[in-house]
């Protein structure tokens, strides 16, 4: 029962906390909860910023070549000729597109889903006083922040921000003469290192700091999800860092890692050594970027399982299936990446290999979703805001995931690759998928962090508006994609439309072009729908209805068995865990839930296994 006592070692945490100055307490904090909040606020701001970029792009798509009202002149003032006359130029469209993707993925979702929620909740849920390496944790946050600063600064460089997509393919990314791409690479190096340090911290924490009795199979599914996510980040990010270093070498020192021999730029043979390959960049990029999409979804699934059980007052049906599916996804995600590269001429044998692994990986994902649906059966559902978002997640992620199946087949991908169908597919998973789960997490855990509820009425307004407009935005994109509309076209496809190419077979139908207007209006409405959320979030911190207890949702997991908000060090005495994470509606129990650290009703403690 004794835990390690470093008698010689002076840790500041327990003793000197009251004497900490402003900077040590709020800026350079090593407390996982505060770091989680730092990550949370920063990433929510970046999500908003990334969304605003898309809001501006949607004007150009709906009404190509026309000045953007209100914001056009502002853009012109800030960015100069790229927004001449308030019209978004093609270059500006490309750079907003590239940065929208980069910011949403690396500065928004990953820091929010993995770092913010993970940092705040995981140590509490496993009964630990903090992460294993608190100072490393702080360093991770500041590296992330610096990476974000570098990315934002790149907008204001001459020539603007990166323009070669979030995928930064060579040769374009290498030969483009503006500096934005170089800054993008530097920003990515900082962000990757931040994630790597974070991954080390999460893995070590979950392995080493589980409280006595918190066996692997008693972990809340959220912790399992974060564990596998950290594992993906640890092993998948470094090859992208290596590739980033090589692309930097290409740009700064004139190397040809990714430039082929005989490259001709603007009619002239390029003065480079050649001998490299653009495909090498693609392989190294997608080796990360595929596991990255699982990084985007797994924490969300973890959040969903917590909120689901809590609001149906029932345990998960098939906890073990969930865990083994997680292993399968984690493992397989490393060997499917080239399904993003079916069009690169890789030969039938290898593309069949990747097609096979891609289809196999859909199985554990379906298992997870099925487990959640089966779990609902016979549940007594509480329809609070977080539950609404959680239920919507199940359906939306289902649509997103299933629409990915055609893309997994190389012969179907022939028609759908790089079309709006792909955009619809992955946005369904991340936007009404992951982001809904993250919203749910905010409404759910807000009372633990602040001691107050968020307003439930405005939460429902936020939910219904978001749900409707998400579908208005992304559903038409499936039809646009099937009609043949390509991604990344700054004029919304007008150049390829039937109207502009009378009688040409395969040109885009009017319905596809007109959908741009509908989608854009939906996007702006979706943006407006976030205002209640933003207001609710900040207003409720001070004025929200106070919670009646430390466990307002009557939840079983350990974070709800602490004071509100949890103090430095989390637990006064190290908790001991006696049971699993979802003991809701246990027959014969006094209440309809039993916290994990509660001793048996009959007074007999089950022997805690380490």
């Amino acid at each position: 029962m004794q835990y390690s006592h470093d008698t010689h070692n002076h840790t500041h945490e327990a003793h000197d906390h009251e004497e900490m100055g402003f900077w040590t307490k709020y800026v350079f904090s090593t407390d996982h909860k505060w770091i989680g909040i730092q990550y949370g606020i920063t990433s929510l701001l970046f999500l908003l910023f990334g969304f605003v970029l898309m809001g501006l792009m949607r004007w150009q798509l709906a009404y190509p070549g026309t000045p953007i009202p209100v914001f056009g002149p502002i853009l012109e003032k800030m960015l100069g000729s790229a927004a001449a006359g308030g019209v978004m130029s093609a270059d500006l469209y490309n750079s907003f597109g590239a940065m929208h993707g980069t910011i949403m993925v690396f500065l928004g979702i990953v820091p929010l889903a993995f770092a913010a929620f993970g940092n705040y909740v995981v140590p509490l849920q496993i009964g630990a006083p903090d992460m294993t390496f608190p100072r490393l944790n702080m360093a991770s946050y500041w590296l992330y922040f610096l990476g974000g600063v570098v990315m934002v600064i790149s907008f204001f460089l001459p020539g603007g921000a990166a323009q070669s997509g979030w995928t930064s393919y060579s040769p374009l990314a290498t030969i483009i003469p503006t500096q934005g791409q170089t800054w993008w690479l530097l920003g990515m190096v900082l962000l990757i290192n931040s994630s790597l340090l974070g991954a080390v911290n999460f893995l070590a924490t979950i392995i080493q700091l589980r409280a006595p009795g918190m066996t692997w199979m008693r972990l809340p599914f959220f912790v399992w999800a974060q564990f596998v996510t950290a594992f993906l980040l640890l092993l998948a990010f470094p090859p992208l860092e290596a590739a980033g270093v090589m692309q930097l070498m290409d740009k700064l020192f004139g190397c040809s890692f990714f430039l082929p021999t005989g490259l001709i730029i603007s009619g002239k043979v390029a003065d480079v050594s050649g001998g490299g390959s653009p495909l090498l960049w693609q392989h190294l990029f997608w080796f990360l970027a595929h596991p990255e999409v699982y990084v985007l979804i797994l924490p969300a699934m973890g959040i969903v399982s917590e909120i689901l059980c809590n609001n149906i007052r029932k345990p998960i049906w098939g906890y073990k299936s969930l865990v083994y599916s997680l292993f399968a996804i984690g493992f397989l995600s490393f060997i499917v990446w080239a399904h993003h590269m079916y069009m690169t001429g890789m030969g039938t044998a290898i593309s069949t290999f990747f097609q096979t692994t891609t289809l196999i990986i859909s199985i554990p994902s379906v298992i997870i979703l099925t487990v959640f649906f089966i779990t609902l059966w016979g549940g007594s559902i509480r329809f609070n805001t977080q539950m609404l978002f959680t239920l919507a997640f199940l359906v939306m992620f289902g649509i997103g995931g299933l629409t990915g199946l055609p893309l997994g087949f190389n012969f179907v991908d022939l028609f759908l690759h790089d079309s709006y169908y792909v955009i619809a597919h992955f946005h369904y998973i991340v936007a009404p998928g992951t982001i809904f789960a993250l919203f749910a997490g905010v409404y759910y855990w807000f009372p633990k962090a602040t001691g107050r509820y968020m307003c439930d009425f405005w939460g429902r307004v936020h939910f219904w508006c978001s749900l409707v407009f998400m579908n208005v935005v992304f559903f038409p994109m499936f039809t646009q994609g099937i009609a043949g509309m390509s991604r990344r076209m700054y004029d919304g496809g007008v150049n390829y439309s039937q109207a502009a190419n009378k009688g040409l077979l395969g040109a885009l139908p009017d319905s596809a072009i007109y959908s741009n207007v509908i989608i854009s209006i939906g996007a702006w409405m979706l943006l407006l729908a976030q205002i209640p959320f933003i207001f609710n979030f900040f207003w409720s911190m001070r004025n929200g209805r106070k919670v009646e207890s430390d466990n307002p949702w009557d939840a079983t997991t350990l974070e709800w068995q602490t004071p509100t908000p949890p103090p430095h060090g989390n637990f006064a005495v190290e908790p001991t865990v006696y049971r699993g994470p979802y003991e809701y509606s246990v027959p014969g129990a006094v209440r309809d839930f039993i916290p994990q650290n509660e001793i048996d009703n009959k007074g007999k403690a089950k022997a805690p296994k380490s």
Binding site: L284, F334, A338, G347
Partner: protein, 119 residues
């Protein structure tokens, strides 16, 4: 031999005073083996083992043995815990996947067995 100022020093359970002393002898033996291995690698590079592939196999095999000695004995991997083996095992698997699958994708025709370059 200098002594620490704190008399009651906690020892990790697996390393007593004498265990470490005998390990020291082992380190020196491994050092000798590594030096020999380095010389052998250099000398072997002047011998043609039949094909370019064979030369590579020989060089990397010697390097792997040296790496095993450093990792196994200097880094104490040979007596390390299961958790570490699991981490390194999965890393090795994914690294092999990265190299093998990328190579296969980029050079499907001349895959490993059919290298045709002039040394």
């Amino acid at each position: 031999m200098s002594h620490s100022s704190t008399p009651a020093k906690l020892h990790s359970a697996s390393h007593g005073h004498h265990d470490v002393a005998s390990e020291v002898r082992r380190y020196l033996i491994i050092f000798g083996a590594l030096t020999v291995g380095t010389i052998v690698t250099v000398l072997a590079s002047y011998i043609n083992f039949g094909s370019p592939t064979m030369n590579i196999v020989v060089a990397l095999s010697i390097a792997s043995i040296k790496a095993f000695l450093v990792a196994g004995y200097f880094m104490h991997l040979i007596s390390e815990k299961k958790m570490i083996y699991m981490i390194l095992g999965s890393t090795t698997f994914f690294f092999a996947g990265l190299v093998y699958l990328t190579l296969w994708s980029m050079h499907p025709a001349s895959f490993i067995h059919h290298q045709s370059y002039v040394p």
